[in-house]
């Protein structure tokens, strides 16, 4: 699904990722942990193609396609999705309208018939239930007046609607209360299958208790210094990161 080879990358000319390797196969959930500023969000931004974030050397392939030079919207259409660490408010842009436009862009990309407003409402109501969100959020502007946790749920709502192949969850658990965390984790778990992959960036082992990752990676100074199973997360929770530094 995703293959990153010896990736050096940065933002605005500053190097942040320093030789990162990662391979994510279909059906796998990889968790990435690491200190503040270690480069986790940078990795997510590089994979999704954000402006100002540049690959210096190395390679990212998604299902065999080289992602370098590919526009973010094309990556999204190919099935890459990021749940933002800090979802942005977009004044005046209606949430429902936006999400239907996004779904239709995808349907059109695959030569399928676009979904009309009525069918979309039926679909979105189903998805709302999965994240336990009230319908009133649909009529608001994107993320406008949403609490921190509501924004995160809105991200998951978008994921469940767009059904990406690779979902990158950048600290989706941060700011969620325990009930919301369970709801979001259940949403993700029900969505998991042998064809979809996930990269979950988190600071807390708690999320991983609900999500059952296949691999845990520890990112230090833009490099994966150690990979392992859930026990690695437990170890980090106890000991912190310094023992992993070289």
């Amino acid at each position: 699904m995703l293959e990153i080879k010896n990736l050096h990358a940065g933002v605005k000319g500053k190097a942040i990722l320093n030789g990162l390797n990662l391979k994510v196969n279909p059906g796998e959930l990889h968790a990435i942990m690491g200190r503040n500023g270690s480069g986790k969000s940078t990795l997510a931004n590089i994979i999704t193609g954000r402006d100002d974030y540049d690959i210096i050397s190395g390679k990212i392939e998604f299902n065999g396609i080289d992602l370098n030079e590919m526009a973010p919207e094309d990556r999204a259409l190919e099935g890459i999705f990021m749940s933002f660490q800090y979802p942005v408010v977009i004044p005046g842009v209606n949430n429902t309208y936006f999400l239907r436009a996004a779904l239709n862009a995808q349907l059109k990309h695959f030569g399928k018939k676009e979904i009309n407003a009525a069918d979309f409402m039926r679909l979105i109501r189903e998805k709302l239930k999965l994240v336990n969100m009230d319908e009133k959020y649909l009529s608001r502007a994107v993320n406008d007046g949403f609490s921190g946790g509501e924004k995160k749920r809105n991200e998951i709502l978008q994921m469940l609607t767009l059904e990406p192949k690779l979902s990158i969850l950048d600290e989706t658990d941060s700011g969620l209360d325990i009930d919301a965390l369970k709801i979001v984790a259940k949403g993700v778990n029900d969505f998991r299958d042998s064809t979809r992959s996930f990269i979950a960036i988190t600071h807390y082992q708690r999320l991983l208790e609900y999500m059952e990752p296949d691999f845990i990676h520890i990112l230090i100074d833009g490099k994966i210094v150690k990979s392992g199973d859930i026990s690695l997360a437990q170890e980090v929770e106890k000991k912190g990161y310094s023992w992993l530094e070289s």
Binding site: G49, E73, P87, V88, I90, V93, A102
Partner: protein, 429 residues
């Protein structure tokens, strides 16, 4: 400048039969205009707008030669509205049936029945802050326009739409339309004042609009400026609000290379409220300059202004807004907001929101922001698979979405949305 004198002289010649007092008013106004000439960059409140193209121009006052047959399909016509059509300054009667309790009169007829709307003395005393050379020029040569009066206790279910169309002209013309909209006590109506151009030849419209709201009346005024890109559009609008009246204005401007609009709004009596939303969408070298003065001269009045501009290419915008709260007025609530989106590094916005408060019992807010498309928002939308173009479109439509909130008529809303999104498509490129 010389052409103004020539045109004025031949106008007087052609209208020799006009009533003496009206001729006197015209002459006096023309003298006033010639004394000052057109505003220059040295004038306070005019410094950002250059009228040299009007000085250098050679606009002929529209004449009988410019009378043409109305087109089969009138551009801009809004469904379910009562249409009043003026083409090249010439009223086309008999196109639509007006509702009961609504009377229209044109130029001289209205002047004789309502000289108070025209007398310089009256205008000076009521609108001392709003008079300027363009107003005088309009009075001297007012040659078109229409007065619409809605009687007391009348509720109009359909809007009255005035289309002022400039089309199929042979050479550069000018017009000085005078509009009066009078809404009787306890009445309710929607007026659409709509300027459209369809010609590749340049022209100059110098408009004056007087709006009077009777006690406890309710007016929606929609002003649409869709002149051609080669035209000049200068306007003076005056709104007088009587006790307990409510005014909602939507002012959408997308045309003209040179657009200057002076808006004067006055609370003449207590307990009234006015909401004024304005939108300018410009590209190329368009210049849009709007100045509004809101005078809170009575108790318990509320005003809200929202001015938004989107500027692309080498276009420029000016917003100059002043709220004046006069001494001894009580319970004033005044809000003013100006927000601008600049799409290109060569586009320029000048904003100057001002408050002049001479009373104590006041709730006021004002502010102005100018910025670019938020790159975070743009990336967010793209990361969901939306193209660059679609994402930009969504963000800009989102930016202007609150402007149309004041429009109550569905057909007008649809029309405004349509022209705004077409213009956005154009200026995005």
């Amino acid at each position: 400048m010389k052409y103004f004198r020539d045109e004025f002289d031949s106008f007087l010649d052609l209208n020799k039969d006009e009533n003496d007092t009206l001729i006197k008013l015209r002459k006096k106004s023309f003298e006033n205009f010639m004394e000052t000439g057109l505003p220059t960059s040295k004038w306070e409140d005019w410094q950002f707008t250059n009228f040299s193209s009007l000085n250098a121009g050679d606009f002929r006052l529209s004449s009988a030669n410019d009378v043409i047959k109305p087109p089969g399909i009138v551009p801009g016509q809004i469904p379910h509205s009562h249409l009043l059509l003026i083409i090249n300054g010439h009223y086309q009667p008999g196109l639509s049936k007006l509702p009961k309790n609504v009377t229209i009169s044109s130029g001289a007829d209205h002047y004789f029945s309502h000289p108070e709307f025209y007398s310089h003395k009256n205008m000076e005393s009521k609108w001392s802050k709003g008079l300027n050379p363009f107003y005088s020029l309009n009075t001297s040569m007012m040659n078109s326009g229409i007065c619409v009066q809605v009687e007391e206790n009348t509720v109009l279910s359909n809007p009255i739409q005035i289309i002022y169309l400039t089309t199929a002209i042979q050479n550069e013309i000018m017009n000085h339309p005078r509009f009066v909209f009078e809404l009787g006590n306890n009445s309710k109506a929607t007026f659409v004042e709509h300027y459209i151009g369809s010609t590749s030849i340049g022209y100059f419209n110098n408009c004056v609009t007087l709006v009077e709201l009777g006690q406890n009346s309710f007016m929606d005024h929609i002003r649409i400026q869709e002149e051609t890109s080669g035209s000049h559009h200068v306007a003076n609008s005056f709104y007088g609000l009587s006790q307990g009246s409510t005014l909602n204005v939507n002012n959408t401007s997308i045309g003209s290379s040179l657009y200057r609009h002076n808006i004067n709004l006055k609370f003449c009596d207590a307990n009234s409220s006015a909401n004024y939303n304005a939108l300018s969408l410009v590209d190329n070298e368009q210049h849009h300059d709007q100045r509004i003065i809101v005078e809170h001269s009575s108790d318990s009045c509320q005003s809200n202004q929202l001015f938004k501009y989107i500027l692309s290419d080498e276009s420029s915008g000016v917003f100059n807004g002043k709220v004046i709260v006069e001494e001894h007025t009580r319970q004033t609530d005044a809000n003013q907001s100006n927000k601008n989106l600049v799409l290109s590094p060569s586009a320029l916005m000048n904003a100057n929101p001002q408050l002049e408060i001479y009373a104590e019992d006041v709730k006021c807010s004002h502010g102005s922001t100018t910025g670019q498309i938020d790159p975070e928002a743009l990336f967010y939308l793209k990361s969901r698979g939306l193209s660059h173009k679609k994402s930009m479109e969504l963000i800009m439509n989102g930016f202007i979405s609150d402007i149309s909130e004041l429009v109550n008529d569905k057909h007008i809303s649809e029309y405004l949305n349509k022209i705004a999104s077409q213009q956005l498509q154009k200026i995005m490129k």
